[in-house]
């Protein structure tokens, strides 16, 4: 009786140990505050060579400041819109000139963002071969204009 129970316990313990060890060894783990994880993922997803990976990483690095600036402008415009909306709700006052300026700035900023993203995608795509480019475009499809 006790022999059977110990065999049962041994089997379960070995199974759990094997399971946990395998998951720890092979589970995807990438913790990075910057774009490191995304770039590593892109490399494995598109089978990039070392040279391609280095060039693509450089392209993203070169664009990072521009994208960061555009992101801040997008956030600032959203804050401005929220202020205008709060003014309309609390005071019942609508500054149409300010809204027109907001619309104009938003249109220009959207165009700049789209151009920035499209340029980056095109320049990254130029580094890849046909097959890699096809897979890359399928990943960023919704961002291509």
């Amino acid at each position: 009786m006790w022999k059977s129970i110990s065999v049962l316990a041994l089997g379960l313990a070995c199974g759990i140990l094997a399971h946990v060890s395998y998951v720890r060894a092979y589970s995807p783990a990438c913790f990075s505050a910057d774009t490191g994880c995304e770039m590593e993922w892109l490399r494995s997803e598109l089978d990039l060579s070392e040279e391609q990976f280095a060039r693509i990483t450089r392209l993203h690095g070169d664009r990072e400041r521009e994208i960061r600036t555009l992101s801040r402008k997008v956030r600032d415009l959203e804050l401005l819109l929220a202020e205008l909306e709060a003014e309309r709700v609390t005071k019942g006052y609508v500054d149409y000139l300010e809204i027109r300026n907001y619309m104009e700035a938003k249109r220009k900023l959207d165009e700049a963002c789209v151009k920035s993203t499209s340029d980056l995608i095109a320049s990254v795509g130029d580094v890849m071969n046909m097959d890699q480019r096809k897979r890359y475009f399928s990943i960023v499809q919704s961002r291509i204009n």
């Binding site: 065999v7 199974g15 998951v23 589970s27 892109l42 994208i67 990943i139 960023v140």
Partner: protein, 109 residues
């Protein structure tokens, strides 16, 4: 023999006067009573079978190896699932990196 058993014996003797085609009635009744007395204390069939199998060294080894293989198989399925989910997360995250119009990007921080 307790009172209930004596009573049962007397009742069974009454059946000797009845003309029925049932050989060894007394023996069968007592066998069933004995079986019912024994069953609750005994192990269920499945555990008896498991015990008899695991007591043999070869089958015990096969059981342990099967547990290890089962654990590895489940781990492989779990890792594959994690990789698919992580791939989807990173695809979305990459789009946030390249597109300033997407909200919740790390660039806002």
């Amino acid at each position: 023999m307790d009172r209930e058993s004596e009573q049962l014996d007397r009742d069974l003797e009454l059946w000797q006067d009845v003309d029925i085609k049932h050989p060894r009635l007394n023996a069968r009744v007592w066998a069933r009573v004995a079986n019912e007395d024994r069953e609750p204390a005994a192990l269920p069939n499945f555990f008896r079978l498991a015990q008899s199998i695991l007591s043999r060294p070869v089958y015990a080894a096969v059981f342990v190896v099967s547990c290890v293989l089962g654990g590895l198989l489940l781990a492989e399925l779990r890792v594959a699932q994690q990789q698919v989910e992580r791939g989807e997360q990173l695809a979305e995250s990459y789009k946030q990196v390249i597109d300033p119009l997407i909200k919740d990007t790390y660039l806002f921080k």
